[in-house]
Structure formats: structure tokens, C-alpha cells
């Protein structure tokens, strides 16, 4: 028992002190009073959260409802949600295909998927922008044979951001799904056929339920980084739309409003924990 503690202490301690504690401090920060020059006063205040929903008039100090930040929040959740669904739609057949290959081909495909992720995310994002631009190869290929006469607006919009999120996180969906499918016992399917299920029915009634842990893991691994993503909106969106990650970054690098940034981070963390909680509860319910 003692040995176990010694073995566990460094990693658990590091995470608790340098990850959990800072997040707790951030949450605490978000309910303090801002001082004149970027510091804090140790008095409780809901100012940062009020600012999220209301606009304080500079002259008469009255509050008016303001949806600016809620829209950013909504956009982030939606973009991440869409990206998750797209990753699933692409990732499930891909993972299935890979998992049903013979051993040699399997590793080849797996290496292909994994290695793409080894290339730096910033570089991949920039590369995607270069491809999507008006002067990029896609528009070039469409325009030179006269298929389109004006370049399609592929870059610098929500479509580009979505595409960026999918390409950033697709391997996160494929790999857990692959792991789940690989463990799948294909004799179960034969049993299903014995019971006169057709292919479609067998897939949805037998395969999907067994894949659920993989689906959940993949979904979370795409959704959570997606909602706080910074680079895709920044580079592929052309700086025209903000997502939550950019808004938080702005509070620390631009506007210098640490407390508001702390409040936004706390909210993002809360959304994440809620998502995790829902998933965990559903998983627990299914087990019983």
C-alpha cells in the first residue's frame, strides 16, 4: 500500500497542484472585485458575470441586457457540436474500415491517421488556409476550366472554421472508435444473422451499442478542445468572428481584464464538466 502511494504521489500531486489548484484559483478570481489597474481587490463581486449578460451604461450606470457574449458562447458550442457530428460521420466509417482490414494493412492505416496528427496544429491550420484561399489550388482548379467564374468564398468564414476544427480533431475521433471496433466480437453479428437481422438492423442493434464507449470518448475528445479552440477561428476565420477561446485570450493579452477572462474560463470549464457529467451519468445508467 505504501509503495503504491509513493508511486502515485508525483503524478497525482503534479496534476492537483499545477492543474486543479490553478483552476480553483481562477474560479475564485472570477468572483472578486477588479482593481483600477488590472489587479484584484479581495472582496466578493459578481461584476464579471454581470458583464457577461448585461451592458453597463457608462453615463447613468444602468444595466441593459446584452447578448454579445452569449452569442459568442452559443457560436462556440454550435461550431464544436457541428464539428463533433461531422467527425463522427467521417470517423465511424473510417475507423470501421481500418479495424476490419487484415493486420498488416491495419497498422498502415493507423500510422497514416496518427502521423498526420504529429504535424504541428498551427502548421496544419495555416496550410488549410492556403488551400482554401481565393488564390489557392481549389479555387484555381475550379476556375481554370471555367467551372466557376468567381472564386468560391471558402476561407475566412464559419465554413473554414468548421473545416479547420474537423481536420484538427478527426484523429481524436477515429482512434478511440477504432479501439472499440477492434475489440468487437464479430461472432455476435453472426448470431444476429442467425436471428434473421438484416445488415442494417444488425449494425444499429448490435454494433452501435457496443461501440458506445468509443463514441463517447471520441465525442468528448473532439467537443471539448473544439469549444475552446483558438487557432482555427483566429487563422481560418480571418479574425472576423470570435469564439470563446479567442475571447478569453483577448482578456489576458489585449483588454487586460483578467477577472472577466477568469469568469469566461470558469464558464467554459463548467460547460466541460456538465458535458462530462451527463456522459458519465448516462454511462452509469446503462450499466445498471
Amino acid at each position: 500500500m505504501k509503495l503504491h502511494r509513493i508511486l502515485l504521489a508525483p503524478s497525482l500531486g503534479t496534476i492537483l497542484i499545477f492543474m486543479a489548484l490553478p483552476i480553483a484559483i481562477t474560479a475564485l478570481y472570477s468572483v472578486l472585485t477588479p482593481a483600477q489597474y488590472g489587479g484584484v481587490i479581495w472582496e466578493p463581486s459578481a461584476e464579471a458575470y454581470v458583464r457577461l449578460l448585461f451592458e453597463r451604461d457608462i453615463f447613468d450606470d444602468t444595466l441593459a441586457f446584452n447578448t454579445d457574449y452569449l452569442q459568442i458562447l452559443g457560436r462556440s458550442v454550435m461550431q464544436a457540436g457541428i464539428a463533433t457530428v461531422l467527425c463522427l460521420v467521417i470517423g465511424l466509417p473510417t475507423a470501421w474500415f481500418i479495424a476490419t482490414r487484415p493486420a498488416g494493412q491495419k497498422s498502415f492505416w493507423l500510422i497514416l491517421v496518427t502521423v498526420s496528427y504529429w504535424v504541428n496544429l498551427l502548421v496544419r491550420t495555416i496550410a488549410l488556409l492556403l488551400i482554401l484561399r481565393d488564390e489557392g489550388p481549389i479555387n484555381g482548379a475550379l476556375q481554370s476550366p471555367g467551372l466557376t467564374d468567381a472564386p468560391l468564398p471558402l476561407a475566412y468564414n464559419n465554413f473554414a472554421i468548421g473545416l479547420g476544427l474537423v481536420s484538427s480533431f478527426l484523429p481524436f475521433m477515429i482512434l478511440p472508435l477504432y479501439a472499440a471496433i477492434e475489440r468487437f466480437d464479430f461472432s455476435l453479428l453472426e448470431a444476429a444473422y442467425d436471428l434473421h437481422a438484416n445488415r442494417r438492423k444488425a449494425f444499429f442493434a448490435v454494433v452501435l451499442p457496443i461501440l458506445r464507449p468509443g463514441l463517447i470518448a471520441g465525442g468528448l475528445l473532439v467537443f471539448i478542445p473544439g469549444i475552446g479552440s483558438y487557432l482555427a477561428p483566429d487563422i481560418l476565420g480571418g479574425g472576423k468572428t470570435l469564439m470563446l477561446g479567442n475571447l478569453i485570450g483577448m482578456q489576458f493579452q489585449g483588454s487586460r481584464n483578467w477577472l472577466f477572462g477568469a469568469a469566461l474560463s470558469t464558464i467554459l470549464m463548467a460547460i466541460t464538466l456538465i458535458a462530462l457529467f451527463i456522459v458519465a451519468r448516462r454511462a452509469a445508467r446503462e450499466e445498471t
Binding site: 454579445d68 493579452q253 466541460t272
Partner: protein, 596 residues
Amino acid sequence: MALLDTRSKDIRNLPGFGLTATLAVAFLYAPILFLVLYSFNSGRSISRLDGVSLRWYAEVFANEEIGGAALNSVLLALIAASLATVMATAAALAMVRMKVRRKAATYAVLNFPLMVPEIVTAVATLIFFSTIGIGLGFGALAIAHTTFCIPFACLPIAARLTSMDPAFEAAAADRFARPLTRFRLITLPLLAFIVSLDDFIISSMLSGAGSTTLPVHIYSMLRLGITPEVNGVVADGRRLRPCRHRLRADRPQTKLKGSHIRALAILLLTAAPAFAEGDLFIYTWGEYTPPDLVAKFEAEFGVKVHIDSYDSMKTMIAKLRAGGAGYDIIVPGDATMQVLIAEDMVEKIDVFAMPNFANVDDKWREVYWDPKREYSAPWAWGSTAFAVDTDVVKGDYSSLAVLFDPAEEVKGRINMLRDMNDVINMAERYLGVPRCSENPDEMKRVLELLETQKEWVKSYDSETKELLVSGEAVVSMSWNGYAMRARDEKPSVVYVYPKEGYTGWMDNVAVPKGAPNMDNAKAWVNFVMAPENAAMITNYARYSNGIKGSEAFIEPALAAAPEINPPADAPAPEFIPTCSPEATALIDKVWTKLMN
């Protein structure tokens, strides 16, 4: 039986799945292959292949700033991945024989970093370090990276250990050591290494003196687009070059050999006394400091110069404010300088009393941001207006109307700088609203103008040169030095001094409070005020300096350039001090609304 067999095979090969998988992999690789292909392009175009060449690679490897950043990245990843792997292995060993309930809880804690969005980790760690008073820099980065690498190191190890029934362990190892298993075992611990190399946000927020990582450096180059030009060779591939390097830099990790590791270990040991006497830590815009100037200073003073780059003034202030970043020299703009002096964040070094101060042009001696030049010396100055591609934009382009009331052919092809103050100042000039207005009605008009204009704006991007040259934008807000670079590559680009007025700015050399190498910092400040040294800045960065007598050392083509010499009838540049808190709040509000 035969029937069953074919049907069971069927579900393994569902129609379209193979195609989807192929397309998915193609989608993942297309951008990467595109970059690799064009990294061998001899021309600077990214839409046309001119020939095969290794020139970009040669330039990347000749660039010291990039080399330093790459080294930091690899070193950091190596430290973080090693520490995380050691800790994770210990944890995994302990967990294998734990009771189920306790194991689940331990798992949850170990995986926690995986579940925290990266931006939250960055922000929380920043707040944490500045609350407990640990300075930012390599140490802070190493701690943060190690922490978020733990689950990446732990998962594969734990999976491997738990999946093996101890009784079968030995036998299984002999008989089932399939290629796939080996692949997983060897590759996945590498994951921690890659995850660390990949990180941008956390590194960007926590880096301090001498610890800029490659992604942060690339990002700052992207935002600024100032090209490193060795010996005045006009060359580019701005977006591409660092990326190409990145691709190369990514490779070695996959086949890190003993010799590499030894070399890195030696570096690791020698990197420790980095704060010894003979050092100078400069924090400035990326690619803004001429390498020949640095070499000259190093030779003359026997000091090693380290350069870190920021992507905006605000990032720089945020770093200084977070405390203890360890820099000796910063290069703030005029308004920022005023703030830094007011908030007592820079050292009073009596620049006016330095020997080379005699060279400073009279017009830069009594400036609003440092009236007696007690704190700062001139570095470079320029203007912010806009540039047009005269192949597309015909007729009169002397007014800001080109941007705010655009002709049909310009709509959708406008780029604005990603800087709220510059954009709002420009809109204010067009409307005749004073700068730093505290009047909400006036600012509302500014917002309306910008919102209308947004329909026609392609991007808010500071990389104006690349956008103009590629033809993505035909009108772009721009700094004068950038417009000159664009003109070098595309002669139809003209920098416009709009009749409504434009912003002037000066970057200054100053010493942040608590600089570790004060003497070297002062030597640098005096050094850059010598005419031949100031001329190097102009030749490299393509902005005017404020030093008399430097003209003799400036390249002739540069000295006569229209971007540096406004026409006689152009209005004088307007230097804009920091706005009041009320005005700043309004500017913030306008920008947030505009970006929504």
C-alpha cells in the same frame, strides 16, 4: 453455412466505408502535402510552381531566431515528455493492482488535464504563477507542459499494463508481439512529446526571457509578416517559410537517435547558466532586429544576445505585468511607452546623457511619450495608412473612401489590420470624429460605419504584404514598411497617404524594471543610436530610424522610396497618445460588437 460466411464478410466491408476512409486520410494530408510541395518551390509564389529549390530550407536554417525557438521547443518537449513518462509509468504500475473503486478515482484525476480545454489551462496557470509570484519563462513552461503531458504518457502505458493478465504476460509477450502492439508501445509514449511540441496557447502565455517556442515564434511572424532578409536580399514565403521549417523540425522526433539525445543532454546542461553575466535578453517584434546588428554587438561587447518575439504590444505588456519575465530590452511603441512610464514599469536610464544621444534627430528628442528622453531611445518610426493594387483599383484613391465606400471591384477584397485602435482611428478620420472620443453617439457612428464595411472586408489580418502580393486583397490597411515589401514583389502596389490623415508611430528601445543585465542593456541602447547601426535597422526592417547621419549608410533604393518619403502635399502623421479609460472602454465595446 456458406451463406452466413458471405453475409458476415459483408458487414466488414460496408459500401462506401473504404471510400470514406480514403477521403478522410486525403483530407488530413492534403494541406500538409501542399505545404511540403511548395516548400521546394524556387519562386516565392504559393499558387504557382516555378522550379525545384532548397533555398527556403537554407534560409530557415540560417535564421538564428528560428533556430533558437526550435531548440526551445524540442528541449521543452523532451523535458516535459521525460518527466511525464517517468511519473506516469510509476502511476500506472501502482494502478494495475488497485481496487476497482480507488482505481476509477485515480484514473479520473490522471485524465483530468485531458478534459480541460487548453485555453483554460493556459489562463489558470498564468493566474496561478503570477499569484504565487513565480516568474514566467522556461521553468513555468516546463511545469505546465509536464502537467498536461501526464495523461498522454499515462494512457498508453496503463492500457498496456492492464490489458495483460499477469499470468499470461510472459507467454503473450513471446508469442503475440505483433507489429501493431509494438507500434502502440513505441509510438504512444511519444505522444507526450508531440503534444508538448504542438502546444501554442499555453506556451504563448507562459513564455519568458529566452523561452519562445517555435509555434509561438511562427505565430508572431504570421501576425507581423516582417521578413528576415539577409544582406538585403528581398525574399519571402513569409507564411510558408517558418512552416516549412516546422515540418522539418517535426521530423527528427520520429527517429530521435542516441546522438541527438546526447547532444540535447549537453545542451540541457549548458543551458542552465543562461543568466550569466554576458547575456542580453531582448523582447521585441519577430524579425525586427537585424542579425548583423546583433553580431556586431556581440563581437564588440562579448555578450550573447537572445531574442524573443511577441505578436502584439499587448502581449508584451501582459507579460511584463505578469511579472518577472526576465527581459533586458523591450521595444514599445509611443503610446505604450507612455503607459509603461506612467505605471513605473521601465527603468530610468537617462538616455539623454548617453554619448550617442547627440545623433538623435531633433524632432525625436522632445516627444510626448518621453519628454526628456530619460527612458527610451528611438528604434524606428513609420506610419499606418493603406495600400492599393493599382492594377485593380482605378481612379482617385487618395481618400479613405476607397476602404469605407468601396467601388464594386474592391468589395470583398479589403483587408483591415487586426488592431482595434488602428481600425477605429481610421474610421474616426473618415467620419471626422476625434481620436479617443468619449462620446457614445460618435462611437456608435463609428461602429455603424465599420459594421457596414465588414460586409466588404475579406479579413482582419496583420499580414498585409502577403495578402496584397497574392492578390487576396486589393486594398489593405498597411504599415509603410510592409507596403514597400509588397511593392518589391508586386510593382503595382502603391502606399497611400490619405488626405483625411494617418497615424504615425515610433518604436523605442527601453529597459523594463528589474532587468537582470542592466549594463548590457544600457550598452545596447547607446549602441543603436550610432548612425551606422541605426542604418542597419532601416535596411533590415524598412522603416526610418530617428538618427542623424544614418542616411549615408542606407541603401540608395530604400532612401528614395515613396513609402519613407511622403509627398509634399501629404498631411503630417498624427501621433496618438493613450486614450482615457472611458474612451478605451468605448473602443473595446465597438471592437467586441464588430467581431460578433
